[in-house]
């Protein structure tokens, strides 16, 4: 089996335009997925989220690396060409890609990453990245906007869970443009798959009670088959039938990417 990658995005009940977006593809080192979530209060971030996602995908398709500065510069150049207003690129970016025997992960802003163990006896490991006061540090922040953000917030929170239970939560400081990105990598020998998601994954509720994002992730990664649009099938079935049967609702847009790497 080659690396399999698929993405899915859909509008939330409280939105008029879907500001989430996602792309998958294949670079020289293996498959990749990218998801982005545009800021609801900024103008035309549906376009900005797409520009950032395409810029990241273009880079990953060509090099299987993610040079953050060049991704933002490229998206900003297109945004200027289109005369998009300042703030259109206020969007998060979560990417996962394979390079050789490792899976690389990069998160700017908020989002969720779930690693599915290759050994079925192990439990999934989840990272939930949340920003202070729900104000994400967007990768497009530069200059005065970045300084203002660092001065006002200056950190994000990372929650690590295992088998759906939080085992650790810590603040991660944001003092510079480099700090806007949280990056880590995982060995292919231990990880059979990755799910990356916008913070829409955390917006599910039942009877006004929030549902733990890792429980939703467990449903979304219960893939029946792994060919072609495997994540779209699972997500459509989950949102269409399971949510209806369980009384789940989600108000936010959702973007998902799943990467199932071929064993090294």
């Amino acid at each position: 089996m080659r690396d399999q990658a698929d993405v899915f995005f859909t509008i939330g009940a409280s939105h008029q335009v879907c500001e989430d977006y996602a792309l998958s593809g294949r670079g020289p080192g293996g498959a990749f997925v990218v998801v982005s979530d545009g800021c609801s209060s900024a103008p035309q971030t549906d376009v900005g989220a797409r520009l950032l996602t395409h810029a990241a995908a273009q880079r990953l398709r060509a090099t299987s690396t993610l040079d953050v500065r060049s991704v933002v510069d490229r998206a900003a150049a297109v945004a200027r060409h289109l005369s998009l207003p300042e703030g259109a690129l206020d969007a998060t970016l979560v990417a996962a890609w394979r390079t050789g025997a490792r899976l690389e992960i990069a998160v700017a802003g908020d989002g969720v990453v779930v690693a599915m163990p290759r050994d079925a006896r192990e439990e999934p490991v989840g990272w939930r990245i949340e920003d202070e006061d729900q104000a994400p540090g967007y990768p497009a922040y530069r200059g005065a906007r970045l300084e203002a953000y660092c001065a006002r917030f200056g950190r994000r929170w990372v929650s690590l869970s295992r088998g759906g239970r939080e085992v650790r939560r810590w603040p991660q400081p944001i003092r510079s443009a480099e700090d806007l990105w949280l990056r880590w990598s995982l060995p292919l020998s231990a990880v059979g798959g990755l799910l990356v998601a916008s913070d829409g994954l955390t917006s599910f509720r039942r009877d006004d009670e929030p549902i733990e994002a890792m429980a939703i992730a467990a449903e979304l990664t219960a893939f029946r088959t792994t060919t072609g649009a495997f994540l779209q099938r699972r997500a459509r079935r989950f949102l269409g039938r399971t949510c209806k049967a369980q009384g789940y609702e989600h108000h936010d847009d959702i973007a998902l990417g799943a990467l199932l790497p071929e064993a090294a």
Binding site: R224, T225, T227, G228, R233, R234, R237
Partner: protein, 241 residues
Amino acid sequence: MSLATHPIAKSRYGFSATRVADLGATEYTLVAIAADTSGSVHPFLRDIEGCLKEVVRACRHSPRADQLMMRVVSFDDALDEMHGFKPLPGCDVGDYDGCLRAGGTTALIDAAHNAVASVATYGRDLSDNDFDVNAIVFVITDGCDNASSAKADDVVAALEAARQEESLESITTILVGVNVKQRQVSQELKRVRKAVGFDRYVELDRADASALAKLADFVSRSISAQSQALGQGGAGPALTF
């Protein structure tokens, strides 16, 4: 893509279908066509073949081609599966050249039962694996049943099971009478349509190339309408023949 064989309960006939693990789309419309090749069909056998080819050609050009899977069966007193359910891009028009041979009597009910049971069984398999599915069935005949082991009630039961399970979002069933010149045959086929619980009966009093071209157009448009209805919760609209 490889095809796997599936049995059908209480029937000596099964069916084959593309392995679910090999399928990449999110949804499929299953198309089952059963064509009568009993001895009386011999004079227009090549036109029936041409009709099948035209349906395949039209469906391959459909914007929904990647979401269509077709199975074709010929029947006289026995059923012969020309090919099992496979995605339309994998159906080559040339493969239908000389594919039919006429002879024998007419196991019309067996063919109808097998077509319905095959879409119901495979549809359940697909649905269990997160695919959204609906189906359309065509049974094309020039005469009355005289060789089936299945009963009309078996077809009704298979249809009811398919509808109750809700694996198929919808199923449309059409009996087509071709070269129906005698009133008694027409009346009998209309009776069979009711007895087996099919949705529609359409009739051609001729079986020449132009009549069967019209049938091919009707079949391919009906397939397209059913496919476009997938996800809407109901069957495609009943089209004018």
